[in-house]
């Protein structure tokens, strides 16, 4: 019986339908993008933390804007939307009003990072097995 290659299925917490269209079956490229995400997100989030620590709302908004784009490219479209809402509030709110949301966003970011680490490893294994 011929081996049938089963397509890669993304984690259910990601927007799998969007990722399927975005990568169009190119799991090698998906692996590269996920690797880039894991490399770049900590650097960009460090700037978010710094801006929050300095209570610089305009810069905080800009830094979250950058991370928002990254989340979109790995299928976290709901987290992307959350970042957009936070970014909008940075231009109209005071720092004290944003503290709880900032901590929530940080938790979601950390959870997202763990999911993408897992997905990256799964992609690597899948690509090695099907290479």
């Amino acid at each position: 019986m011929a081996n049938i290659r089963i397509g890669f299925v993304f984690d259910e917490s990601l927007n799998a339908a969007f990722l399927a269209e975005l990568f169009d079956g190119d799991t090698i490229y998906a692996e590269t993008v996920f690797e880039d995400f894991l490399r770049d997100l900590p650097v960009y989030w460090q700037r978010v933390d710094a801006a929050f620590g300095n209570e610089n709302l305009p810069v905080l908004g800009t830094c979250v804007h950058t991370c928002k784009t990254l989340f979109g490219y790995v299928g976290f479209t709901d987290l992307q939307e959350l970042c957009q809402q936070f970014e909008n509030k940075c231009s109209v709110s005071r720092m004290d009003d944003l503290r709880d949301e900032y901590h929530l966003l940080t938790e979601r970011k950390e959870k997202a990072q763990r999911v993408i680490e897992k997905e990256y490893n799964r992609l690597r294994e899948y690509n090695e097995a099907n290479g």
């Binding site: 969007f18 269209e21 975005l22 169009d24 490229y29 590269t32 993008v33 880039d36 995400f37 770049d40 800009t62 804007h65 950058t66 928002k68 784009t69 990254l70 979109g72 490219y73 992307q80 957009q84």
Partner: protein, 240 residues
């Protein structure tokens, strides 16, 4: 024929996707990728491309600052993750707006639409170039509007405004809108009286009433002077 482009984008993942899509489409050739407006403008000072993929929010100057500084009019596709910029995109007469992250299908639709516009504009320009139309140094020109060729005296023209795929001619009596590009009209209006003052405007300098700051006033109309055009405007108008 492939369109040449540059990518102005500070997020590497986004730029990589764009480059990959350009290669996959086989319709666009990427000449360079720049992380900020300053580097992109330095490149555009000595090189021309057909198309700019332009992010808005970047370190330093924004994508709109780059548009204000351009000295010619390439096609522009804005790439951003903020829908709030759609209105600004309209004001700057950009050719399309792609919300990140966008798929190859969306990208392809945008490029195909652009290719069709470019081909249509070339097809329209070609008959005019070969017809017995007047050369650029006559005192009138013909424009195609309202299903006919309309003769316009150059001396009647106050200014021209780019409106995406159309050009609006403003005269004291009325306005005319023709399917063309400002670049095509620039070539027809070579001469001492017409000057491009902004990526979207050419003015008849003999009709200028006054200039206040970076705004030209002609018969009640206000025309901005683009950042990239200020030196030439000052030179041509002998502003001391």
């Amino acid at each position: 024929m492939k369109l040449s482009c540059i990518i102005v984008e500070d997020i590497q993942i986004a730029a990589d996707f764009l480059r990959k899509f350009c290669e996959k489409s086989d319709m666009v050739e990427v000449k360079g990728h720049f992380l900020n407006v300053a580097d992109a403008l330095e490149y555009l000072d000595h090189e021309r491309v057909d198309l700019l993929f332009l992010d808005i929010e970047m370190p330093g100057a924004s994508g709109f600052d780059l548009l204000d500084s351009l000295t010619y009019s390439p096609k522009i596709i804005l790439t951003t993750s903020k829908t709030e910029y759609a209105f600004n995109a309209f004001q700057y007469h950009v050719d399309d707006y792609l919300k990140k992250p966008f798929t190859f299908k969306r990208f392809q639709e945008s490029i195909q639409k652009l290719q069709q516009k470019v081909s249509a504009a070339q097809a329209l320009a070609a008959p005019a170039a070969t017809s017995p139309a007047p050369s650029s140094d006559t005192d009138f020109l013909f424009i195609k509007a309202e299903d006919k060729l309309i003769k316009l005296k150059k001396d009647d023209i106050l200014f021209l405004e780019s409106m995406r795929d159309y050009v609006k001619f403003v005269t004291p009596a009325r306005n005319y809108i023709t399917y063309s590009t400002l670049k095509n009209m620039e070539e027809k209006l070579i001469g001492p009286n017409f000057l491009k003052v902004h990526r979207s405007y050419i003015v008849n300098i003999t009709k200028i009433d006054d200039i206040r700051g970076n705004t030209i006033y002609l018969l009640g109309n206000q025309i901005p002077i683009g950042k990239g055009h200020r030196d030439e405007v000052a030179s041509r108008l002998n502003i001391l």
